[in-house]
């Protein structure tokens, strides 16, 4: 086949129009030749014999008549062993390798192999000669860190394939042939441990999609108990700047109860990625006992890196997530921030002179966002096991106003909404998830009736609190005042959580259930309190003891002692358990 070459006819920012002769397909990758370098680009519109392409790099120096070489391939991610622990840019170039080649700066036109082609992997065949397999079924495994990395029939092969020969157990590089299969027409296809998959297409080599039912523990009390996320579910975290979106995602990436975490740093600060890069190799994953970095992939396209590859980066990340799901693993994809991705779409749409929708976002914004989140899912795999991709995206709404298009489009498709509020973050109440506006459609780790009771206390307390702003403390009855104090205490000891303390930040399922029971008892009881000062003193002491309790290790001696302190104070206040709480705690109807 001869090279398919076109010529540049116009340049507008990173949008370049190319005149071509042969066939060109939508979303095909091409390279613009500028002097010695070739700039990676993607076809995004075709009109007559003009293809409009978005260039993933700065276009300085491009001129009319420059050659453009079409590759025939769509933008693809290379999949295979060795992805874990890597730090990639949006186009899957390993950043540390780029640094070795280009130094301090991200020079344009430098592309590096995504996977190490020299490293040898210990391959164990699983399939036998004569076995018939389909795309997404595996014929061998290699160990990758703590995981068994399955080697698949590439996802893009259609139909049935029969194993003609398969390599023996031994060490191979990713590019060595480890199996030869024949298709239905008898054609032979050699297979290696790696293959490419176009990132903008969802991987669908599973038997069926199941409803997400199992809670994905994040160890954040407010999330797991009140606004839970399910394995295979989706959630979004919108919030104004400084409300703690990134810290919350950072905590989740450390403690979430999943096998693999993929962090897509999309259009945000480089400094935050550096924090992860510095911290993660030092931290130990309690599940595997290995470094946290070994279960993490970082796709990093920070705000000053080219916009078009920012758009690609979320797709690259979700493709890798789907790949590891195929191995029967639970994968969490954290995208920070999807607004920057939407803005990248807006920039290109503007250059294409498309008719703008709301706030100049393109009209297809909603369907793109929906399609992205729909790539999450809890699935049954061909071998009967299950795997999941959970997607959590932050949204950075302009002016902190949730009415804007990206937030609204996202809310339509996600299963849980963790809205961060400026008010709570200003009051240093972290995580600043606003319990009044947030919601979740998934099941949490704590009995929903007990949580319902807590929510009632909270909302009742907020109502009294706002009334008190008008009538003052003097105008509030003692009973109301106590409810207000109780709700304030619940907020302080359960909703708020110190993410920088190792024990406090990592609050597991059993502990959450245990603490909730105690809280239901304390909140659902009446006390003999003479006046408001006494009430405030009592509840404040109770609050302090709960906070101390939170910082003790679960089921340790200190934990028992702190719990004893709470019980003692409860007895001192002559706590009298109310009927509602009693029913809840006894599990009665």
């Amino acid at each position: 086949m001869t090279a398919n070459i076109g010529k540049v006819v116009s340049v507008n920012g990173n949008l370049v129009s190319v005149e071509f002769e042969n066939n060109v397909s939508m979303n095909e990758i091409c390279f613009v030749k500028v002097g010695d370098t070739a700039l990676k680009s993607e076809v995004i519109r075709i009109r007559g014999n003009i293809a409009q392409i978005q260039v993933y790099e700065m276009t300085n120096g491009v001129k009319c008549g420059d050659e453009v070489e079409f590759t025939g391939d769509m933008l693809s991610a290379q999949l295979g062993p060795g992805l874990l622990g890597q730090v990639y840019d949006g186009l899957q170039n390993p950043l540390p390798l780029l640094a070795e080649q280009a130094g301090w700066f991200l020079e344009r036109g430098v592309y590096v192999e995504a996977l190490n082609s020299e490293k040898k992997w210990e391959f164990t065949p699983v399939a036998k000669v004569g076995d018939t397999l389909r795309a997404g079924e595996y014929f061998g495994t290699v160990p990758e860190g703590a995981f068994v990395h399955k080697i698949f029939i590439p996802f893009n092969l259609l139909g049935n394939y029969t194993i003609k020969s398969i390599a023996e157990k031994g060490e191979y590089t990713i590019n060595e042939t480890v199996a030869v299969v024949t298709d239905e027409r008898g054609r032979e296809i050699p297979l290696t441990m790696t293959f490419k998959w176009p990132v903008k297409r969802a991987v669908n080599c599973y038997s069926e999609r199941l409803a997400p039912v199992e809670t994905m523990e994040t160890k954040v009390r407010l999330i797991d108990s009140f606004f839970p996320v399910a394995k295979g579910g989706t959630y979004c975290t919108p919030g104004p700047f400084g409300a703690g979106k990134t810290v919350l995602q950072h905590t989740t990436s450390k403690y979430a109860d999943v096998d693999i975490v993929i962090i897509a740093a999309c259009g945000e600060r480089a400094g935050e990625v550096v924090e992860t890069l510095t911290e993660f190799p030092e931290l130990i994953d309690p599940k595997t006992g290995r470094s946290l970095m070994e279960r993490t992939i970082i796709i990093c396209n920070t705000s000053s890196m080219p916009v078009a590859s920012r758009e690609a980066s979320v797709y690259t990340s979700v493709t890798m997530a789907e790949y590891y799901r195929q191995m029967g693993l639970n994968v969490l994809l954290l995208a920070d921030s999807t607004s920057r991705w939407a803005q990248a779409l807006r920039e290109m749409s503007g250059r294409l002179e498309e008719i703008p929708g709301e706030e100049a976002f393109p009209a297809y914004l909603e369907s793109y966002i929906a399609a992205f989140y729909e790539r999450a899912g809890y699935v049954r795999l061909p071998d009967g096991s299950t795997g999941s991709v959970t997607i959590g995206g932050t949204v950075s709404p302009a002016g902190g106003n949730f009415e804007e298009p990206v937030t609204q489009a996202t809310l339509k498709v996600v299963g849980a909404f963790h809205g961060l509020s400026r008010e709570r973050s200003d009051a240093r109440k972290y995580p600043a998830i606003d319990p009044v506006i947030s919601w979740s459609k998934y099941t949490g780790v704590v009995d929903s009736k007990k949580i319902g009771f807590c929510k009632k206390v909270l909302s009742h307390g907020y109502d009294i609190g706002s009334m008190m702003k008008v009538v003052g403390e003097e105008g509030t009855s003692l009973t109301d005042y106590v409810t207000y104090l109780k709700s304030d205490m619940l907020d302080a000891v359960y909703l708020q959580q110190n993410s920088f303390d190792l024990i406090e930040a990592n609050c597991g399922r059993t502990r959450q259930q245990y603490v909730t029971d105690k809280l239901v008892k304390v909140l659902g009881s009446e006390y003999e309190l003479g006046n408001k000062d006494e009430a405030r003193g009592f509840i404040n002491r109770m609050r302090q003891r709960f906070i101390d309790w939170n910082y003790t290790e679960f089921e340790s001696e200190a934990f028992r002692k702190a719990e004893g302190d709470i019980d003692a104070l409860y007895a001192e206040g002559k706590g009298n358990l109310g009927r509602e709480a009693e029913l809840l705690l006894n599990g009665g109807e």
């Binding site: 120096g61 001129k63 640094a99 130094g103 301090w104 480089a270 002179e353």
Partner: protein
Amino acid sequence: MNKVFNKIESITGNVITVKAKDVKYKELAQITTRFGKSLAEVNKIEGDVVSLQVFAGGKGVSTGDEVRFLGRDMRVSFSEDLLGRIFNGSGEPRDKGPVLTENMQPIGGPSVNPSRRILANRMMRTNIPMIDMFNTLVVSQKLPIFSISGEPYNQLLARIAMQAEADVIVLGGMGLKYDDFLYFKEELSKGGALSKTVMFIHTASDPTVECMMIPDMSLAVAEQFALQDKDVLVLLTDMTNFADAMKEIAITQEQVPSNRGYPGDLYSQLASRYEKAVDFANSGSVTVLAVTTMPGDDVTHPVPDNTGYITEGQYYLKGGRIEPFGSLSRLKQNVNSKTRKDHRALMDGMIRLYSSYKETIEKKNMGFAMSRWDEKLLKYGALFENKLMDLSVNMSLEDSLDMGWTILAECFEKDETGLKSDLIEEFWPAK
């Protein structure tokens, strides 16, 4: 050699088009009008129609003026000779010094590889207590100063320029009033900081296109100094003018506006400038402080809003003071544990008491009776504002911390401060 064209097809605002072949995107041209020569930059190519933004503006450009393409993109000369000099947005001298042409460096270059960045961990002292003590500036940080017009932000920048612990200061002025330009020049030479300063100045009366070049020029120079092991502090004022200049050009070129007329890539444009802040391992660093005026004191206006998402915190300048509540240096915890052991506790304690003072003021204004505790808070608040918050206060971090203890001792008993007992034992001033 260079191609010369004598036929300008269209002139809209500051943008002209000519018919030309073999022109590169972002290439520079020189246009000769009856008022003199000006640079112009290619910002769009459609077939043989080339759009250029004229640095000196479109006013008085004739269709018959000569356009000469230079075959290179915008560059800035870099050497030690820059120090003490003042330039405009085209890189031409604004002082009486010679034109510099040696060692031309590209501007708006690629960003630093994130895997080569290191965690910011060095404090940059400014001797302004509200910065050093309460929201410490960290080397390689990017911070805006959110302010409304009329606040003394330029005075603040000038003081930081003179006092900050930086090897080189790069000052980028965008849409500066001429008085402010003179003020900076005078203050810096009075304070003896001019010799370590490079200025790129665009005044309000200069053409808009030059305004857009200022941050790139300033940051390119800063980056070069940083690669030569210098700690560089870049001061930009005012980024809202920069954003407005972008808006003007975008609208002129009939781009689809997104929010309040600003172009859709406002975030990316601002980010690519701010992200130039960096600490090169084993070499120098670039720290960016940029004034962003908030039209109508509205922090949700697109410029401050987008800025807030990019930067690592912000300083609010309000009522002539750096406001302790809204202001935030996100990187301060990287450094303030290493300064003096009472730093963090004292900072938190004093802010907590100051917030109680604010509540007391509210109560007082509503006519409630003042308790003895309230009286103490009132005294404390007044002392805090005069001795630490006032912008004219100039003292080292250690002196500020001591001053903090003195103020506390003057107003409160030891156990009323809520500070840890061992710190109180060590630092409480003897009367």
